[in-house]
Symmetry: C2
């Protein structure tokens, strides 16, 4: 790309900030040599850390501020009192066009609230959603919403489906991603009203999407679809249940190796294969939740992650920016609305209108 790609970083967000942020940016710089960074945070502290990474320092600008949003701050409080925080300054840089994306490992609720106010939602989208990637039997899938919207109506779910489909098409480079709606069974009558209504809209022939209908919890890791659509409550529980289960099974595997001297010897022999498996399940690999539906690219890194995890979150932001994701989401919503206008304003796509 000819245009320079600048990523704004909330240097003070996360449990190990600012060290993990600077180290993570240093790893990201090697991977993306054409990217520049705008670090928002306390200048002196950041300068001292950057001294150890001269190549990163050369591509980094610092936007000084001493204010931070704490991890336990309520979103409304952060909005009012955090106007000068490292988080807000990084978001504002995207709003002002000084950066093409923002990455923060800080307070999720505050980040979403500030991003909504500063960047606003894309035309046609009522509420932004948090999307993430999951490992599956067939590779990986995208899932949204992971917690931004505890309660969702049919319109929200349909919008999530459109955004998720565009995301899978552009960032995951899938030519024709399939989409499913998470439910407690695959029959049309299952679930609540919002799910049934969204199912009807998404299933309409006029919807430009390979919609596969209702799916169940087993289908997430099963890889039945490329995009799993759900409300933020269910998505968050599913995400964390999968994390907990994966950790439990990993623990069982470790324990079984300790069962006998022969099993231990087996471990020594199979170790490198196991390390590869662990790498595939490494949560840092899937770090970087995307806020979709805003006039700007916002990526949330896990608060407890290290430099490697943070670098992966930066990679997600870089991918989204490079692929022009926002423009494509906008185009898709315009197309759907144009289709609706042609059919007289009603019909199955009415639910995605502004």
């Amino acid at each position: 790309m000819s245009r320079e790609l600048i990523v704004a970083l909330d240097a003070m967000g996360g449990d190990h900030a600012p060290e993990s942020v600077v180290k993570g940016a240093s790893i990201a710089r090697v991977r993306h040599p054409d990217v520049r960074f705008l670090m928002c945070g306390p200048e002196e502290r950041l300068r001292a850390l950057l001294k150890e990474h001269p190549k990163l320092e050369a591509v980094t600008t610092i936007d000084h501020t001493d204010d931070v949003v704490t991890g336990d701050a309520k979103p409304a409080v952060a909005l009012r009192q955090g106007r000068n925080s490292s988080m807000r300054r990084a978001i504002d840089a995207v709003e002002a066009g000084r950066a093409m994306a923002v990455v923060s490992a800080g307070n999720t609720g505050a980040l979403m609230a500030m991003a909504k106010v500063a960047l606003r939602t894309l035309p046609g989208i009522t509420r932004p959603a948090i999307a993430g990637l999951f490992p599956t039997q067939r590779g990986e899938c995208a899932m949204l919403d992971l917690g931004a919207n505890v309660q969702c109506d049919a319109q929200n779910l349909v919008q999530f489906a459109v955004m998720g489909e565009v995301f899978a098409r552009t960032v995951l480079a899938l030519p024709e991603p399939t989409v499913g709606l998470l439910n407690v069974g695959s029959e049309d009558m299952k679930g609540n009203d919002a799910l049934r209504e969204a199912n009807g809209i998404l299933g309409a022939a006029s919807m430009p999407m390979r919609y596969r209908g209702f799916i169940e919890g087993t289908d997430i890791a099963g890889g039945t679809v490329d995009v799993v659509v759900t409300d933020g409550f269910t998505g968050n529980v599913a995400l964390k249940t999968a994390e907990g289960t994966s950790k439990l099974v990993g623990e069982y595997v470790r324990q079984s190796f300790k069962n006998s001297i022969i099993a231990k010897l087996g471990y020594v022999l199979a170790r490198s294969a196991f390390n590869k498996m662990r790498a595939r399940l490494d949560p840092r690999r899937y770090n970087g939740a995307m806020f979709l539906g805003l006039n700007g690219i916002v990526v949330k890194s896990h608060g407890g992650t290290d430099a490697i995890g943070f670098a992966n979150a930066v990679a997600v932001a870089v991918d989204m920016a490079r692929e022009g994701l926002l423009a494509k989401i906008r185009e898709d919503f315009d197309r759907i609305r144009a289709q609706r206008d042609m059919t007289g304003g009603g019909g199955p796509v009415a639910a995605v209108a502004v």
Copy 2:
């Protein structure tokens, strides 16, 4: 126990019925030598199968019927047209006192609908729930509801908590089980209105329960609490997400062993340890979902399970019957209501009233 324990079996429920039912009962007979069976289904076919299990035949009575509830029958249709089905006859045997528990691997929705009509709910309970056991880092936990009630209010959730706590105390033999409410975060303000209201009621000092507040998806396999309370939609998604994830990780483990000849040799050495691990995660081990809140013990076996899985479901029914679970749930609700009456009919326990 002096009184004879009779378990009614829906001989025609499940993908491999009646073979899996008869074989499963045969395994169960060995484990529970004092139990007798009432098999509901086609007499001639069952007699032929029982010929191969003479010891089982000696403790089995057949209640002949040719009618069955199909796997895809809607609950309302099954209720109307299935009055003479093997499923209904098995439930009716419990209602009439001819059996102490019923086990079916048939259609879940039909089983719940028939059980509600025939057995009715216990005093103080508005809606029955489906409970199941999960493996955790600390052993196992009970979770409910797993799908009987897609939408739940605070009162339902509080009732589930009381039933689940009694279940863990009696059948799991935990002296003081801990209880948590599944949410998207542990702060009091998280979740929807029903969750916050239930949290307030369960957290009241007068509630005879070790209530631990809100928990998250990671806490299920993490073993943070002994009883996980949630609505049927979330519980069903969490259950199936955990199943899918566990299968995926198992698949990764298998693949990693195939990576090289040395890894394969490692597998040969660690094999017996791995078989133990697989046994711990075997879904048949956790087969047998309990319908809690009815005037009778109803256990749902997975429809696709084999004889070993079905025998485990029978074991669950036998445990529940032996421990006098229903009487204890009744006592607990009576106690809570008595407390409410003493405090003038209002207060935090009002929500568990009939």
